[in-house]
């Protein structure tokens, strides 16, 4: 009993136990989780309109929003959810209860729109500037909506089904550990620009790719720049749970951006736009219009504009298409009767007014303008600038600075992923038992075997806790790293045990404290050799082996600083007579 007390009051052991407790908190394992995890919310879908937000990848898995029930019926498996979705009809309402709140969704009908040759009179809403006297007596300029009735092509809308509600759900996570692709399934695509790019260009490329992937509304998307020892540049895209085809489709293309007037293409991204201005001289809040109050008096509206440059061909096309349009003039600003629609990958992303001075004139320099709203002037300004940035990215997306090609693509099915995980666990447990047996045969003391097994477990546990804390993805490389660390860990513990036992025997000329010192000398030399051997891997191989190097270094460091000294203290007290 006295020995046990001596063990647990030793400060190294206390540190170990405290750190293990912290790891427990970080990992936060669940005994039973209800509901399904929200993995993605598609843009403009019923789900996003109802207010469900795309989950923030930075939050810990167990703290993310989960769907608990639909129409008050609890849902716990993906099959249950899918079964429900097949029963949906258009224009129906239903509720989704999540860990955050209750949402009310309305399904949207899936429409097919065809423009007919006939036209009809339709009333549309447009804005114009007006000077208005407010209660205080000051004169302000406001954007006032007014209705215009004019001839427009008839559009036939047919309902062909229910639009997907745009919610991607996964099984609820059982801990805060993030599983990498190898364990969870998903796609990993490695791309390289076909020529050398500057850091600015690289940033633009990465921004574009993220923008494209945003269309899916997926949260677990990692787009990262990486390199290797030879200075090659790569972009690595990892999407958990997505299909490789979807990803390659999305990324492999240049990005289809089109602008159309009356369904005829004016200019396309990539070929037709040579330059999009992002600097302050030619982009920002429109100085001539600025901000003002909307007609309802409560919301603020700001106009922004930025310059782009078209190729001469695109400019001519634009002139041809606008020549026959009418000018709709109001006090202040004159526009053409048609708007220009912007399509990204065949999805309408925006509709803008065309300045009247563009009618029939082939201009290569065009100003694109739009607006943003807010409850205060400041908010309106911020939203406008964000809108502008989004538009710029869309236009730039259509024109990547260089062509990028896919050099490596992996797709791992989730079934295979969970196979690997179970397999790894099995190997771990059996290997630990085998090691324990050998230790027992060598030392003939159960306590030491138990000590070594416990230390191995403690090291693994703490590394996992660290991984959960910093949001590190566990994949095969990480597992390999943990294996290396455990291997060196057992080695170190054997060295320690041997030194202590020999110290016990007192059959040598070196004092006991010195023996421990020598043991740790061996341990630390081996430690530095291992760390230093892993360092080149950190920077090599397009970052794919980085996970292995980092995990190994972290795990052995934790071992050398925390778990192995604690083990030494325990064995010391166990064997001391």
């Amino acid at each position: 009993m006295g020995k046990l007390k001596a063990i647990f009051t030793n400060f190294r052991v206390i540190i170990l136990l405290v750190v293990m407790l912290l790891a427990l908190v970080a990992i936060n394992p669940a005994i039973e989780t209800k509901g399904l995890l929200i993995g993605g919310v598609a843009m403009n879908s019923s789900a996003s309109i109802a207010g469900i937000q795309v989950p923030n990848p930075a939050t810990a898995p167990r703290s993310r929003e989960r769907v608990l029930a639909i129409n008050n019926r609890p849902v716990n498996t993906v099959e249950e959810y899918r079964a429900f979705v097949t029963t949906l009809e258009p224009e129906r309402s239903f509720t989704i209860k999540t860990t955050k709140t209750l949402y009310r969704l309305t399904t949207k009908p899936l429409l097919r729109r065809t423009a007919l040759n006939e036209t009809e009179l339709r009333t549309v809403t447009e804005y114009r500037e007006e000077n208005v006297t407010t209660e205080n007596g000051t004169v302000e300029s406001r954007l006032i909506p007014y209705n215009v009735t004019k001839e427009m092509p008839k559009i036939l809308e047919e309902v062909i089904g229910t639009e997907d509600i745009g919610l991607r759900l996964y099984l609820a996570p059982d801990s805060n550990l993030r599983k990498g692709l190898d364990l969870q399934g998903g796609s990993r695509v490695l791309m390289a620009p076909e020529e050398k790019v500057t850091q600015d260009q690289m940033d633009t490329i990465i921004e574009n790719l993220k923008q494209r992937l945003n269309v899916f509304g997926l949260s677990d998307v990692v787009v990262r720049q990486s390199g290797d020892l030879s200075g090659n540049q790569y972009i690595s895209v990892e999407i958990a749970g997505a299909n490789e085809e979807e990803v390659k489709e999305l990324l492999g293309r240049q990005g289809k951006f089109e602008s159309r007037i009356k369904n005829q293409t004016v200019f396309r991204g990539g070929e037709d736009i040579t330059y999009v201005c992002r600097s302050a001289e030619c982009s920002g809040i429109d100085p001539q219009v600025g901000c003002g109050r909307a007609a309802d008096g409560a919301t603020w509206v700001c106009r922004f504009q930025f310059a782009i440059t078209l190729t001469p061909e695109a400019a001519r096309r634009q002139a041809d298409l606008t020549r026959d349009l009418e000018i709709v003039s109001q006090d202040g600003t004159k526009y053409l009767s048609e708007k220009i629609d912007l399509f990204l990958d065949d999805q309408l992303v925006d509709s803008l007014n065309i300045g009247a001075d563009l009618k029939g004139v082939p201009t290569t320099d065009i100003a694109i303008s739009g607006s943003g709203v807010g409850t205060t002037e400041q908010e309106a300004v911020t939203n406008s600038l964000q809108e502008m940035k989004r538009l710029q990215t869309i236009l730039i997306t259509g024109s990547l600075p260089v062509k990028i090609g896919i050099v490596k693509a992996d797709n791992i099915s989730p079934a295979l992923g969970s196979e690997f995980m179970q397999n790894a666990l099995l190997i771990g447990v059996l290997a630990a038992l085998a090691v324990a047996l050998i230790i027992f045969f060598r030392y003939r003391k159960v306590a030491i075997s138990v000590g070594i097994i416990f230390t191995m477990f403690a090291e693994t546990w703490i590394v996992l806790g660290l991984a959960a804390l910093i949001g590190w993805n566990l994949d095969l490389a990480a597992i390999a790293g943990i294996i290396v660390a455990l291997g060196t860990g057992v080695n170190d513990q054997i060295v320690i045990t041997d030194e202590i036992i020999q110290g016990e025997k007192a059959s040598s000329f070196i004092s006991w404290k010195q023996r421990i010192k020598q043991a740790f000398f061996i341990i630390f030399s081996a430690y530095f050799a291992t760390v230093v051997a892993m360092l080149p891997l950190w920077f090599a191989g397009a970052g794919l082996l980085k996970g292995f190097a980092v995990t190994t270094i972290l795990a052995v460091t934790i071992g050398v600083l925390i778990t192995r000294p604690a083990f030494a203290a325990v064995v010391e007290r166990l064997l001391k007579k």
Binding site: L190, A192, D228, L229, S230, N232, N243, E244, V407, K408, D410, S413, P414, A415, L416, E419, F420, Q422, N423, A424, I427, L430, A431, A434, I438, I439, K445, L476, A477, I479, A480, I483, G487, T488, N491, I494, V495, D498, I501, Q502, K505, S507, S508, F509, I510, Q518, I522, S525, A526, F528, A529, T530, V532, A533, M534, P536, L537, A540, A542, L575
Partner: protein, 328 residues
């Protein structure tokens, strides 16, 4: 007189007393070894250590020779798998039980001129095949797979594509990483021992481990992957562990002959290697992932060579060097 010398005498007396009593199982061996306890092994090891050491050096040169001859004859010094050579690999989960040859022939038949490697794997409830080949369009490979196995959902099919230029660069990259790792490790060893010659012996032993293991993998026709090269780097770490142990104990301990200290260290060292070995063998038998399997295989082979290179080569050279300089 002083305390220290008195303590020394007390220890001496205790030592003499303990020599009479037999040792318990929990202790390490005493400084003096009884000849009859170890018999053949001890005799050979103590007397013929030079021969044993030369044997390991012979293995080293044979390995280097093998690699050299193979390169001269085929122009290839390393067998690469798709992660280093480029190509495409698909993993199909299917209940169908077909002989490997049949699967291979089916694919070769559909895509003339291309070589296919087919492997089977099975675990609890999942069985399947891994099919690899050089550059091929994914869609084609997929449709061939579906022709043989029936329609495959995305759950049943996993694809890995590696562009060959990337594969080449990986080989160069990880190769450089390996060399750097070796270099840095050598520096650490030199700093540790501050003594050039014993450090060189340690570095030589690590080098032998890697070269012999590599030669054996090539002899066995194993195709190395990026994970495999990572395994070689891991091997550096494990080799160094035992060599540092040996050299530290032999150089820094006093009492007993070099041989005694070596045998003393061996007990610790072999236990270390044995635990690692048993773990990697289990991993090798049970592993489903080809990445991990190759890592386990390379480390298993490496550890076996490590036993030879640490306790026969490194120990032998060290002992010879110390005895030559009269530091028995």
């Amino acid at each position: 007189m002083g305390k220290r010398s008195r303590r020394k005498r007390l220890l001496w007396r205790k030592l003499r007393k303990e020599e009479a009593a037999p040792s318990e199982a929990v202790t390490a061996e005493q400084p003096r070894h009884e000849g009859k306890k170890h018999g053949f092994f001890y005799e050979t090891y103590s007397k013929h250590y030079k021969v044993l050491m030369l044997f390991t050096l012979f293995l080293l040169f044979a390995s280097l020779g093998f690699i050299g001859i193979k390169y001269a004859m085929t122009g290839v010094w390393i067998n690469k798998d798709i992660s280093l050579a480029g190509g495409i690999s698909i993993t199909v989960l299917s209940e169908k039980d077909l002989p490997l040859k049949e699967v291979q022939d089916f694919f070769s038949g559909r895509h003339t001129g291309k070589e296919f490697t087919v492997r089977k794997f099975s675990s609890g409830d999942q069985k399947g095949y891994i099919i690899e080949t050089g550059e091929l369009i994914e869609g084609e490979l997929r449709s061939t797979a579906e022709a043989l196995f029936g329609k495959l959902t995305k759950e049943q099919l996993s694809v890995e594509i590696m562009g060959s230029s990337l594969g080449k660069s990986f080989l160069r990259e990880t190769g450089i990483a390996l060399l750097l790792a070796f270099l840095f490790m050598s520096i650490i060893v030199l700093i540790t021992f501050r003594n050039l010659v014993p450090s060189l012996f340690v570095i030589l032993a690590a080098f032998s481990d890697i070269v012999c293991t590599f030669a054996l993998t090539q002899l066995l026709g194993i195709k190395i992957s990026t994970a495999g090269i990572a395994a070689f780097i891991m091997l550096i770490g494990y080799s160094i562990d035992t060599d540092i142990l040996l050299t530290t104990r032999v150089l820094k301990r006093e009492g007993g002959t070099v041989l005694d200290r070596t045998l003393n260290a061996m007990k610790t060292g072999i236990t270390m290697t044995l635990t690692a070995l048993v773990a990697t063998v289990i991993g090798l038998i049970l592993s489903k992932s080809s990445t991990l399997s190759q890592i386990f295989l390379i480390i298993t082979i490496g550890l076996v060579f490590d036993i030879l290179n640490t306790w026969l080569q490194n120990a032998g050279i060290l002992r010879w060097y110390l005895e030559k300089h009269g530091k028995t």
